[in-house]
């Protein structure tokens, strides 16, 4: 990719609280932002209440997207990317919601997973600071959304750990802080919940700097700036600033906060929850201050497009889970990069991690009608096999042969079920568009495949009930000894 700015393109993100657009010209490392707008739609409110996106929220979304599309077209922005995050992921009617958007606006919505969201947010939130001369080598990014919070840590711009938790400012408000202003009891309960929840996050390498992004963080900064007459830059908040903000937010109803500090009322209602989440995270990370970034997932999408072209979604998915060990720093820390780590040591860690990832799907696979788990476990089995392939040369030959066969058996039994699922899904999709002449045959075939799939479910159940996990893990560990053997030069 070149380092000249591209023609304008646009990115919209549909989140739990807001719908946000950025129009910009891009390079792989920099953005020239032409337009940046946000609308507080609070889709997550109806999802938390009913599990689905209400018709009113859909209507509000469509109105906003029509306006954003016009804005993008005004800047001749193309393509226009639309990503949807936690609230949409959680909604029972997300498929209908996305289809309605496509039908009514012509915009194609990409529903992204939490880890992808975290990775895109990291790109967006850090790109400006990464250009600075004294940019810190280690940094954490927290994207505080309405329905989820993503946390990423990185060293020299390489992500070392990340997680996505389904706790956001909208969710915390709706679940724990419904009063306006929130009561002491509500705040105490919410604090206990957050402290306990965050304590369970396995961050070993605490980042010395935390950049916080998302609507709540930016609104909190805007409030603090007006209340305490802070400079517009740097966008930095100390623990004392946040505690003072919380005092204000606990004393004043949302309408008054909105009026005094020029905030939308709907946003002001969520600020106590946002401030509490930020403060609890600061305590968890032992940080006296945070940096606030106005950038996030949208900017991340545009930078990813500039870096990887049309393949950006897949490239980001792979960055989000480069080796299936996204929580590796919990065990190992980022002290040594993988590049420099001894092959043998990395292999032992990788094999253990791959094995865990494989086995964690076992229970779900035993539930009938969970074709996605079968798919995930099969992919995990393939990844384990690929790892074994990579390490065969330095494994004990006998143990390797044994465990490789066992892994292949797992892959095979899952493969039969998965291949049948894929055939059924393909035929069902084909059936919707096929002429009448093909319908009778397709239906016959689908029914036969479904019967076969049920038989295979019983085969799967028998196989996995007999499967000895402890022995499997033991053999995996044994096949690559601490010294490495056979063809290795050691």
């Amino acid at each position: 990719m070149q380092n000249q700015f591209s023609a304008p393109c646009a990115a919209i993100d549909i989140g739990s609280n807001t719908i946000h657009i950025v129009v910009a010209r891009c390079t792989p490392t920099m953005l020239d932002i032409l337009a940046d707008e946000v609308e507080l739609v609070r889709i997550g409110e109806s999802v938390t209440a009913t599990g689905a996106i209400s018709p009113e929220k859909l209507a509000a979304t469509l109105t906003t997207l029509h306006a954003y599309k016009a804005l993008a077209e005004k800047h001749s922005a193309t393509p226009i990317f639309v990503v949807a995050t936690e609230a949409i992921r959680q909604a029972t009617n997300s498929g209908d919601f996305i289809a309605a958007i496509q039908r009514e606006t012509g915009l194609e919505v990409r529903l992204i997973e939490g880890m992808v969201e975290a990775t895109l947010t990291f790109l967006g939130a850090t790109y400006e600071r990464a250009q600075e001369k004294n940019a810190p080598a280690q940094v954490g990014v927290m994207d505080l959304g309405g329905g989820s919070t993503e946390v990423v840590t990185a060293k020299h711009e390489q992500i070392t750990w990340r997680t996505s938790v389904p706790v956001g400012s909208g969710w915390l408000h709706d679940r724990y802080l419904p009063s306006d202003p929130p009561t002491d009891d509500e705040l105490n309960t919410a604090t206990v919940f957050l402290t306990t929840y965050f304590a369970g996050m396995p961050i070993k390498q605490l980042p010395p700097v935390l950049i916080v992004t998302g609507g709540s963080a930016n609104s909190l900064f805007a409030l603090a700036r007006r209340a305490f007459r802070l400079d517009k830059t740097p966008m930095r908040l100390t623990l004392a600033h946040i505690l003072h903000c919380e005092g204000l937010l606990q004393a004043l109803p949302a309408a008054e906060v909105a009026e005094r500090y020029q905030q939308p009322v709907a946003r002001a209602r969520l600020l106590p929850a946002g401030a509490l989440i930020i403060r609890t995270m600061m305590t968890r990370l032992h940080l006296p201050e945070i940096w606030v970034s106005p950038h996030g997932i949208r900017e991340g999408v545009l930078l990813a497009y500039a870096r990887y072209g049309e393949q950006w979604p897949r490239a980001i998915e792979q960055l989000a889970e480069p080796s299936g060990n996204s929580h590796k720093s919990a065990e190992d820390g980022p002290q040594e990069t993988t590049q420099d780590e001894k092959y043998l040591h990395y292999g032992r860690r990788l094999l253990a991690d791959r094995t865990e990832k494989l086995l964690e799907w076992r229970e779900a696979v035993l539930k009938a009608d969970d074709s996605e788990s079968v798919h995930k476990m099969r992919v995990a089995s393939r990844r384990l096999r690929a790892t074994l392939d990579a390490y065969e040369a330095i494994c004990d030959a006998h143990t390797f042969k044994n465990i490789y066969k066992k892994t292949k058996d797992v892959a095979d039994v899952l493969g039969v079920a998965r291949d049948t699922d894929v055939m059924i899904q393909n035929l069902q999709a084909q059936s919707a568009q096929s002429p009448v002449a093909e319908q009778a045959g397709i239906q016959w075939l689908i029914e036969r495949l479904q019967t076969y799939r049920q038989q295979q479910q019983r085969v799967l159940e028998t196989f996995f009930k007999k499967f000895d996990e402890r022995e499997f893990k033991r053999q995996i560990e044994a096949c690559l000894s601490k010294e490495g053997v056979r063809h290795g030069k050691s």
Partner: protein, 198 residues
């Protein structure tokens, strides 16, 4: 399906970065080996092997992503795309093979009761291909007790014809993508990235 090429030259005590490059280069050679058949849409088995080679390269790049230069992410994305295009092609090949077997056997077995497993083995043997590894599925579909009625058989024929067309379209998508990668010296790019990061 061709066996994975053995990896030679691995040093257990070397860094992951060094060994990851050795494996990635080997997997790239496998991709190039089967890539020779990319221009022949009739070589279903070889195209399937090309898909497997793409998958092996992809998994290698994913496993060692942390040990390879960051530019490898875009490469992995392209390889995954190729693998998926060939996967769609393979799905159509399998479906076409099944439809042909159903059609042939239904005609032959009309009025006869046969051992469906034996039928399946025979039918697959006749097909002379290695596409359908799941003989039990073939036996299940060829079970005389649940054989398709006349109207369903005719309909399956229509489905076979449309699947052929779909397969042709899928091949064109793959071929255009593959050619575009060759035009921009994709394999050369991978080697440069692997060499540069050392």
């Amino acid at each position: 399906m061709a066996k994975a090429k053995p990896i030679t030259g691995i040093d257990a005590q070397a860094t992951t970065g060094v060994n990851a490059r050795i494996i990635a280069r080997t997997r790239l050679e496998e991709l190039e080996l089967w890539g020779r058949y990319a221009h022949d849409p009739q070589r279903s088995d070889e195209l399937h092997d090309l898909r497997i080679a793409a998958k092996r390269l992809r998994y290698t790049l994913e496993i060692f992503a942390d040990a390879l230069p960051p530019e490898i992410a875009a490469i992995t994305a392209e390889v995954t795309q190729i693998q998926e295009e060939l996967g769609a092609l393979h799905d159509s090949d399998v479906l076409m093979a099944l439809l042909r077997l159903c059609s042939q056997q239904a005609e032959r077995a009309e009025g006869q009761v046969q051992n469906s497993h034996a039928q399946a083995v025979a039918a697959q043997h006749e097909a002379g291909k290695h596409l359908i590894t799941d003989i039990a599925l073939v036996a299940h579909l060829l079970d005389a007790d649940t054989a398709p009625a006349q109207i369903q058989r005719v309909s399956l024929q229509h489905l076979l014809e449309s699947t052929k067309q779909q397969r042709e379209a899928q091949y064109v998508v793959f071929r255009e993508h593959w050619d575009s990668l060759q035009e921009r010296n994709f394999q050369g790019d991978i080697r440069s990235i692997l060499d540069a990061g050392q």
